[in-house]
Symmetry: C2
Subunit: 487 residues, 2 copies
């Protein structure tokens, strides 16, 4: 840490003053430092500049990414924020990790960007090696194949397509026949089947039209957009601590699973079969709702029984934040899920799939870019660091302390804070209402802690895998200070 | 050109022997050079290596992107191919353009990759400047705002969402009401409206479920995938040369436009309004079908008359290949299209939109990444080169010679070649059947020319903007040689 400490009235701050020749920061400040309102005057001026040429209504602040480092985001006004939200949980190693920055000199990176391949037809000669070294090295147990895509949404879209193709191929006993190929051009049966995908209340799977049809977390995502008429089951809503509410929680599992099976049976009778069930290990955007290992095991059984593809959407949970590389590892399933979706911390989108889900005909799962090898170059490096430094195990340990700290907060404010929950650093708690939640987020950022909300009235923690005990100590200190102010 | 010329029996070849210290090629071979079958043994071995871990059925060959340069692709077996297909028309300046390669030392590039922003909420402090310098500098006349996305499909998905939001907002006279927000969560009206998008037979707009519903080029894209029931009109099918078939061609326009208007009226009566019409300037994947300026002018009028959003999908035509930066510039529309979609040669996906299409509420047009600023760094440089070197104008001129050369081919083989057509280097011709087309493509690649097919029996030219007269001369030489062999 190469920083200059100054004493200012009432508080010790660290001026962040360590940058490489390229202008990219090389170390973390020791402490947050907020000197303006957030957004500050520079962020506001930039928003005014951007507004006539690009939509801006969701912009919170502008960020100086060259100055940001590790767990600290530096905004356009120079405010240094301890960031436990990390670009919506998408940076595995925080900002400007020095070993990832070194990728700039890897010729594979620049060639992949300047001479970007149409990967489905003309991949790089080292693409098989890149996939093996990056994606296959962390493949969920039992899943040996992967398909890269551009983001979580395109991964989900193509996973659903794969499930439909699989369902129809099995039903026919082979590839499409002439009548399938002909009828699909007018979108008639049998070529355009009336299949559906089952998802859950509270789910978030992306924002394309089909992904919105399986997303049920917030009206703002869905309103005014036409949708596919696909079935929705309830997802468990547990009370915490779990051990105190066993009866309620088990009943939740029963009810939800009963609903899933009934919906599959009804749709089958109506000849609009459910081809796939898609589920998040933890409904994140929807409010950090967890399902029990038992719930997921039995959900998989229901899928197997009815020949339905079982898809686990690990876009937000994947890559280590829950204390295991994949959240579903903690369920001890008898056999792997049929497909596992990833993006965010995995830097590239894509999905792992079981051998029987492989699509054998060319150009069915296809598009121009099919992913981006430049992202694999960076992911390869990130995974190397994650493994070398034991960051998943560390996240598990720091996460236990985070959860304990939040439980203390709940004990101190039982009228305000409830349902403290989490695995790894993937923790959350509920406030009594949205207004209080938003006030608490606001009070935190004023003190230099950048934190995210989710669901109706929850706060979620999504730090990077480089979030250490010292960052946790600061996080809890600021959170308690903010709580004191708001409650 | 720093290459070593050798004399070998029967043919002069150039060994491509010019690479920078980083291992990235810095100059073009003077001539194609094919020494193995394509795919060659190395490509085949790589495919066998990749097959167990990643889907491979569409893979044609593996490419050595570090060795490729300009208009020449070098495959894993060392074959040097003159490439007029250019990664499905997606490389604006061919392979490893030296000025784009220099972007590797731009700190904005590496920071954007390693510390990738959630652009919708926390953009880079220089993002407004990046948008202005890259995307706004080439905005279609009359369109002053842009929204970045990741690819053509995500751009189209979000353009459709924007059209739906616009249509409903205008209908209501304001943002969603409580009943809209509530009903959309169960996908009931009025929150989930029964709106549709009109597209055309032969169209290609991407491969997500919604984009497939407006795509009607080939069964392989659509079969087994459930679809939205949206209306389809015919797109003109002209005969060439245009001046010889005026009556037929005008009748095509009439019939198609009549169908569009009728479909809009019928859907309105059925209370499932058409909110948007989406159309390609040239149906590319579908077989390089052109529409006349008059067709598009009148299509825009029909849209205006019925309050339907007019979307021009320039994913393949945009960025200069037709001899104008945007193909629709050649229509002389009275007012700009409501939205123009781009991707491929534009390096980033996205869409330009009219001011009244702006979505004012936050988180409606949103996702985690919302594009990728690293792509803007590279696009900025590519556009600088395109403007400085007058590459669009040059493409127009070289394109005229390409078209003349193809017309000569048609004149030489009137039984085999028909409907030679094109603007800029965006040229195509038809063969008598798919088999002959595929044989011709095969014969070309054997001689070192990498060319693409489209539609049922067409060949399309999609060279980069650095395709010069010398490359054209070689192209026509090889094409004529291949034709002699096949016909």
């Amino acid at each position: 840490m190469n920083s200059l400490r100054l004493l200012v009235p009432g508080r010790q701050i660290a001026l962040h003053n360590s940058r490489s020749l390229s202008g990219i920061a090389t170390s973390e400040p020791s402490h947050p430092n907020v000197s303006t309102a957030i957004p500050g005057p520079k962020s506001k001026a930039l928003k005014a500049k951007m507004d006539p040429i690009h939509q801006t209504p969701s912009v919170k602040m502008f960020v100086d990414y060259e100055k940001s480092f590790g767990n600290y985001l530096v905004d356009a006004d120079g405010n240094q924020l301890l960031d436990v939200y990390m670009q919506i949980s998408s940076l595995p190693l925080g900002y400007n990790h020095p070993e990832m920055v070194k990728c700039a000199s890897d010729p594979r990176l620049i060639t992949s960007i300047v001479s970007r391949p149409a990967l489905g037809s003309f991949p790089r000669h080292d693409f098989p090696a890149m996939i093996e070294k990056a994606l296959i090295s962390v493949a969920p147990k039992g899943l040996t194949s992967v398909q890269t895509m551009l983001c979580g949404t395109s991964a989900n879209e193509n996973a659903l397509k794969t499930a439909f193709i699989h369902y129809q191929t099995r039903k026919r006993g082979g590839p499409p026949r002439l009548q399938d190929l002909e009828s699909c051009m007018t979108q008639d049966q049998p070529g355009t089947p009336n299949l559906s995908v089952l998802s859950f209340n509270g789910a978030f799977h992306g924002r394309s039209l089909a992904c919105l049809s399986i997303t049920r977390s917030k009206p703002v995502h869905k309103v005014d957009i036409p949708a596919l008429d696909w079935p929705i089951a309830n997802f468990p809503r547990y009370m915490y601590p779990l051990e105190k509410h066993e009866t309620h929680n088990q009943k939740q599992d029963e009810q939800c699973l009963g609903q899933v099976e009934k919906l599959i049976e009804v749709r089958k009778k109506e000849q609009r079969d459910v081809a796939a069930v898609i589920v998040e290990p933890i409904q994140s955007e929807g409010g950090d709702h967890h399902g029990s290992p038992n719930f997921f095991k039995r959900l998989q059984s229901v899928c197997k029984k009815h020949g339905v593809v079982f898809i686990v959407d690990e876009v937000q949970t994947g890559g280590g934040p829950t204390g295991s590389f994949w959240a579903h590892e903690q369920w001890n399933l008898e056999s792997p899920p049929d497909m596992v979706i990833f993006s965010k911390k995995m830097i590239t989108g894509g999905y792992y799939f079981k051998e029987e889900l492989r699509v054998n005909e060319p150009y069915r799962i296809y598009n121009t870019w099919m992913g981006d090898p430049s992202k694999l170059v960076v992911l390869e490096k990130a995974l190397e660091v994650i493994k070398r430094d034991g960051l998943v195990e560390k996240t598990k340990n720091v996460g236990e302390n985070l959860l304990a700290g939040l439980q203390k907060l709940e004990a101190a404010y039982p009228q305000q804070v409830s349902n403290t929950r989490g695995v790894g650093t993937y923790c959350a708690f509920d406030l009594k209402d949205a207004k209080t939640r938003d006030q608490l987020i606001e009070a935190c950022i004023t003190e230099g802690l950048h934190i995210g909300g989710c669901g109706d009235a929850s706060i979620r923690f999504r730090p990077a895998l480089v979030f250490d005990q010292k960052h946790l100590d600061l996080t809890l200190e600021i959170l308690n200070k903010a709580a004191k102010k708001v409650f």
